[in-house]
């Protein structure tokens, strides 16, 4: 039959040829669409569940450590000690390491990132734009370990050590600042400073790319209105575009902060990995991510493993909150701009 032939070629099942119960089943399944919807729904749900599952699982696994140390574990005022031999674990030094390296990285990266975003969104000649975008994205795509390797053998001796020495000679001499900027930087350069500087390079493209998208989302009518009042291009950027996109750029910065906190390999390779080191940025230390990377595989003791997982859960929740805030801020500016 001609119609059935046509149906076959466009893929409709020719139900007439089938037995009644098959027809019923096919109809009930809407020719497979019910299964299809269910699959879509399940796959979507998987993503949602996965995030919760990660959090929940780490929470369970960290139970021994939480029971043993309570809130003391993450307190800045508790006695800092990390001693697998004595089963004493306190995470503050690594939390401090994460915060100090990420904060320095953010402060250094923001002017660069915003400058790059402005250049890419507003100034770049059209034929340069695509290659420059690729280069910034490549900077973000280089694997973390490659940064680490280059860091150990090139960046630390050539850049970090001289910078460290000049910090020591200047800021380190100021009485109040000596605690965070005093002491000698090791000849290897392995230090919190090294981690902070590597992180700066690594998060700059992230912040720059998101900020660029935020600037590009601002409608042209704003640029025209400002130019028509006689503003120079910089005045338009600084007084109209940046305030317009401020919450989005802030979102980009927080996103970068989350990246910095969670970055593992490059930091582990250049920070020196020690639980001592006081508060000085010129000294080696740990970050939350680097202590897990460095010790977890060798941790045999259950409490040690559990303590490292508890650090993992601190890291998890911290980045979760930062990402949620960042997403909300970027989303808000895009929505506001669209509604405008």
């Amino acid at each position: 039959m001609a119609i059935n032939e046509m149906k076959k070629t466009i893929g409709i099942s020719t139900t007439k040829e089938r037995f009644p119960y098959q027809k019923k089943l096919a109809t009930w399944l809407q020719h497979g669409d019910r299964i299809w919807s269910l699959l879509l729904w399940l796959s979507g749900l998987l993503v949602v569940i996965l995030v919760a599952w990660i959090g929940w699982r780490l929470w369970i696994e960290s139970a021994p450590s939480r029971a043993e140390f309570g809130w003391e574990f993450i307190s800045p005022w508790a006695k800092a000690s990390w001693n697998p031999a004595l089963d004493k674990f306190q995470a503050w030094p690594s939390i401090y390491g994460s915060i100090v390296t990420s904060v320095i990285a953010i402060f250094l990266a923001v002017p660069f990132s915003v400058g790059i975003a402005i250049f890419l969104a507003e100034l770049s000649p059209p034929n340069l734009r695509a290659p420059l975008n690729y280069m910034v994205e490549m900077l973000a795509a280089i694997p973390s370990v490659v940064y680490g390797l280059w860091g150990i053998y090139v960046f630390l001796p050539l850049v970090v050590v001289p910078i460290g020495q000049s910090i020591e000679a200047t800021l380190g001499q100021i009485p109040g600042l000596a605690i965070v900027a005093g002491g000698h930087i090791p000849v290897s350069g392995l230090s919190r400073l090294a981690a902070a500087l590597i992180l700066t390079i690594m998060i700059t493209p992230t912040i720059a790319a998101v900020s660029r998208d935020v600037l590009l989302a601002i409608p042209n009518s704003q640029r025209e209105a400002s130019a028509a009042l006689g503003a120079t291009q910089w005045e338009t950027i600084w007084k109209v575009l940046i305030p317009n996109g401020l919450s989005g750029i802030l979102g980009a910065v927080i996103l970068g902060f989350g990246r910095a906190i969670g970055e593992t390999m490059a930091v582990t390779m250049v920070i020196g990995n020690t639980t001592g080191g006081g508060y000085s940025i010129l000294k080696p230390g740990y970050t939350m991510a680097s202590i897990i990377a460095n010790e977890f595989a060798e941790a045999v003791d259950a409490l040690h493993t559990s303590a490292l997982i508890e650090i993992g859960i601190v890291l998890f929740f911290l980045t979760l909150i930062l990402n949620a805030i960042a997403r909300w801020l970027v989303w808000r500016v895009k929505k506001q701009v669209m509604g405008n």
């Binding site: 979507g44 998987l46 280089i142």
Partner: protein, 312 residues
């Protein structure tokens, strides 16, 4: 009168100052870009020069030599990376595509918002944390490290990358195409697989390439899932399987169930060893890894850009 006030301003002086500020600040943004690109060029050139010296055929087809001796290759890491990235792709691509289909067909249901939000969160979860999760869920359960565990954690890392780009690419497919197929009476799933997916295929493949690049470069989640294995060699395992007349599933099982190495993992271990030969080799590993990851990235982005401009 405002007019009087305005004429009091020395306009020429104001202009000169503003023009100067404009030039300086615009110049500074360009300078920032140049400064930020210095590390990129520095790393690429340095790795090319330093790693290039140790690249030869032996490097790709041999297992590592014992510590302290020269020679040897990284076959174990190449094969391990391959196995784990293939596993990660098999685990992540189907659900990622299905989730992306969900997002494009159910634009604004609560679940769609939840998926988008979770995808963003998942993309932001530190990879080391994902590694801990993989350890807890698979390694603890199986009581041993394995390529399988490595594949699963890499799949979690790939998932948000693929969902995001697939959603964007599926959205670019003209709605008429889908409507046309549905109007002919084709069911939703056939329309999706036979009409929408092929139309978006090139874009989705680029998304997968980005995911693969990301997974290939990841080290942290493998540290305590795949662990590392200097003797990981697929060829040998297959040969043994044939000799002992084992089924293909047994062989596959052994390939997946053993601890495995990966390029970034090997790089990490070599970079920190006291043997200079190993450090030298780590530059060669960096070269292989970097070229692979960067060329996938560039290829994918050029394709995406081309596709976008073709559709607009």
């Amino acid at each position: 009168m405002a007019q009087d006030i305005f004429s009091q301003v020395n306009l020429q002086r104001v202009y000169r100052r503003r023009r100067l500020t404009n030039k300086i600040m615009l110049g500074l943004t360009g300078l920032m870009l140049v400064l930020a690109l210095i590390p990129l060029i520095w790393i690429i050139v340095y790795v090319l020069i330093k790693g290039g010296r140790h690249i030869n055929l032996d490097f790709f087809i041999h297992l590592p030599q014992p510590m302290g001796t020269t020679g040897g290759g990284i076959l174990h890491a190449i094969e391990g990376s391959l196995v784990m990235v293939v596993l990660a792709s098999v685990f992540s691509i189907p659900p990622a595509l299905l989730a992306a289909f969900y997002l494009t067909t159910h634009e604004s249901t609560p679940l769609a918002s939840a998926i988008r939000f979770s995808t963003d969160l998942l993309a932001g979860v530190p990879s080391i944390t994902v590694g801990l999760f993989g350890y807890a869920v698979i390694v603890l359960a199986q009581k041993h490290y394995s390529a399988l565990a490595g594949g699963v954690v890499l799949a979690i890392i790939m998932l948000p990358v693929v969902i995001r780009s697939a959603e964007e690419m599926l959205k670019l497919v003209p709605p008429d195409l889908r409507a046309g197929s549905l109007a002919l009476g084709a069911p939703e799933w056939k329309t999706a697989i036979k009409v929408v997916l092929p139309a978006a295929a090139e874009g989705i493949i680029t998304g997968i390439m980005l995911g693969v690049a990301r997974a290939t470069g990841e080290t942290a989640p493998l540290l305590f899932t795949a662990l590392g294995n200097d003797n990981y060699e697929i060829g040998k395992m297959i040969k043994q399987g044939i000799e002992h007349n084992q089924s293909i599933f047994d062989v596959l099982g052994r390939i997946f169930e053993q601890p495995a190495d990966a390029l970034p993992l090997t790089l990490w271990k070599y970079a920190q060893q006291p043997y200079p030969e190993r450090v030298e080799q780590s530059w060669a590993v960096a070269l292989v890894l970097m070229l692979f990851v960067l060329s996938l990235n560039i290829l994918a982005r050029v394709w995406i850009a081309r596709r976008r401009s073709a559709l607009q």
